[in-house]
Symmetry: C2
Subunit: 391 residues, 2 copies
């Protein structure tokens, strides 16, 4: 699942490139920063769909996931093979309308109407705020959000979500409950070279990935899951069948084409490697961001370890899609909102309001605007502080 | 919502064009009969999507439904204006991943976590079997399937689904509960000229339509709702945001292009009018079907009134997407399964098993195969009957 969250986007991120006095909305992780790459290389990812293509509900009746386009399955496997971030053998691929639907499908697969009460769903705080919203959306009698995995003490079956690298804070994580009767969902939305060193092919029972965080195509609503257990995959497919009778064929065909273009860019020296492009962009942004905040006495960023990346063949740092800011004044989100920067406060992620999350994956102008406003805060606060000292 | 239902499609409809002894699967309403039209006219509906198009989650921040492509909204309005089957003014358009998601979104919009118990959802039997599956999928505490509207007697708030023309039986319907505190959803998936005379522009509070039944593009998973009340539309959008963060942009762009092609075909005398094509096809199939069954003492079809169609300018009969067969032997589905024709039994639709539903919207060969097998049954039974008389 992604960096988008489920509040009404009342302040349009579309206004973010305007250097006006309007609020800069960095609440949503809309990955528009890849737009420039695809404007330059878009023809390699162009799809042409005729009026008579892919009209049926059914795609591949030989596959358990009968609505999965074989081209998409093949391109997903090729991509993970090149990047080395996930084991793809001996597991079922299930496609969903974004990884959000797959998350929901996994909750459905792991729960049972025969249980006396809903199964608890937990994630270590700070956790991606949308998990709670999705889990409790229709007050399911099958599953129920139970908050922070660190403080979860209830006996019996549970589901733990492990987001690694984590949204909001970019940390590398493992399951924390580790009791019997637990099911674990690994949300690997950000386990791609532009965001974190690839240290090993992930090899978990239930892994989620999403098109939006991989290449920036958030509008397509495509996610995929690797699922080891056939019965779990079957129940996920049942959930998707009941709730949306499959997944857009057009989006699947486009994702397949885009992934092939990305794979080609990694393998042909004449092309601009997509992930190296992403690494440069994110690396540059993090460098500038740390520079702006390095002398701040108010705001600080997490530190990330330097780790060898198998994909890149060099030592690298995690470069998360979000700045997870800590404010030594209380309530980071409110403080930055005073400076017309809108983020999402720590409470939504299950932690203290002195933290807040701000998107770093928007257009270049949006990011520059963020830096400019942060610089202003630093100066102003510094001034206030000096002024206070004099009094 | 459509004619597809939520059982595992274990017997592939893809095998239906083979005139072998394998089971002919007519359980699902996969509208592949339009394939031939789009193979002939597909270039008019071709979409080209570049790698850099429609990447953002956000489409139209000025619209309440911020993930709706304006091109799709415009083409939907143009289409309904030409066909005359729905009032489009002064209501919100909400797009969904198929009308199934919109149905779910309406249940969410009409229910409240503050109510002491889940709101009852009813539909007059025979009702579309998927409503029950979707409503109770995750055992929501907000809403609950309560079966046949004719026998619904509980006091308090309720939601009634009115499917007109009805799936499975093609009848024209109105709400039957008609009490205060009721919300009504009109599922108008089949209110198109190829299936029924267009007698008036539908003007209800909450109307559902779907791409799959309009033009045959079931794989795209696009539905749309016309919603009068802004707060209802807002809650539907919230539901779609939480559960899939919008709807595939590629599918929306393609639906827009296909609808424009259909509109052009209705307005340019040089083109083959899509709906007239559909009327001829469905008309021909119903004529052949009635011919095959006219002397049957075992199987019978519903009769439909002749009504003036505003769109066509002539008197017409309803030509449903399904044959709703009544069998004077008990259990219609089991009886036809003995003859290697798989349909869906009446019990799933809330009525007696002497009824069963069979798709009429598949490929030509599939339909011919159906007729051939039906003819065989008639002959065989007739033979058996004569034989019995002689004994």
């Amino acid at each position: 699942m992604g960096g988008y969250d489920n509040n009404k986007p009342s302040l349009s991120p579309a206004n973010n490139s305007k250097t006006t006095d309007s609020v800069l909305n960095l609440e949503f992780g809309d990955p528009t920063m890849y737009g420039e790459y695809w404007r330059q290389h878009g023809d390699k990812g162009t799809v042409v769909i005729s009026g008579c293509d892919s009209m049926s509900y059914f795609t591949d009746m030989g596959n358990l996931c009968w609505f999965l386009e074989p081209e998409l399955a093949n391109s997903i496997k090729r991509l993970h093979c090149i990047v080395g971030n996930a084991v793809t053998e001996d597991r079922h691929i299930v496609v969903g309308s974004g990884s959000t639907q797959l998350y929901n499908a996994l909750l459905y697969a792991f729960s049972s109407p025969d249980e006396p009460e809903p199964i608890s769903v937990v994630c270590a705080a700070p956790y991606y705020s949308a998990y709670a919203d999705v889990t409790d959306c229709v007050r399911s009698g099958l599953y129920k959000w139970a908050g922070d995995a660190y403080t979860f003490e209830k006996d019996g079956p549970y589901i733990e979500v492990v987001t690694t690298p984590n949204n909001p804070d970019g940390s590398i994580r493992e399951a924390v409950v580790n009791r019997s009767h637990g099911k674990v969902i690994h949300d690997l939305a950000y386990y791609w070279p532009q965001h974190t060193p690839i240290t090993h092919p992930a090899d978990y029972d239930n892994m989620l990935f999403t098109f939006s965080k991989t290449t920036g195509h958030a509008g397509s609503r495509i996610g995929w899951a690797f699922v080891k257990d056939k019965e779990v995959a079957r129940k996920m497919i049942e959930f998707i069948m009941i709730n949306s009778i499959g997944v857009s064929k057009e989006s699947q065909l486009r994702a397949a084409k885009i992934f092939e273009a990305v794979c080609d860019s990694c393998q042909n020296s004449g092309s601009e490697n997509f992930f190296e492009y992403g690494q440069r962009l994110m690396g540059g942004r993090w460098e500038k961001l740390r520079q702006v905040l390095k002398n701040s006495e108010i705001l600080s960023l997490p530190e990330y370890p330097l780790v060898y990346c198998n994909f890149s063949g060099k030592i690298m740092e995690t470069k998360p899609a979000f700045a997870w800011l800590e404010c030594n004044d209380s309530d980071c989100a409110s403080f930055l909102m005073e400076h017309k920067i809108k983020g999402r406060g720590g409470r939504r992620f299950g932690v203290d309001s002195k933290y807040a999350r701000f998107s770093l994956v928007g257009e270049e102008k949006e990011f520059d605007n963020f830096l400019e406003r942060l610089s202003g805060i630093h100066g102003k606060k510094h001034h206030i502080k000096i002024h206070a000292d004099r009094q």
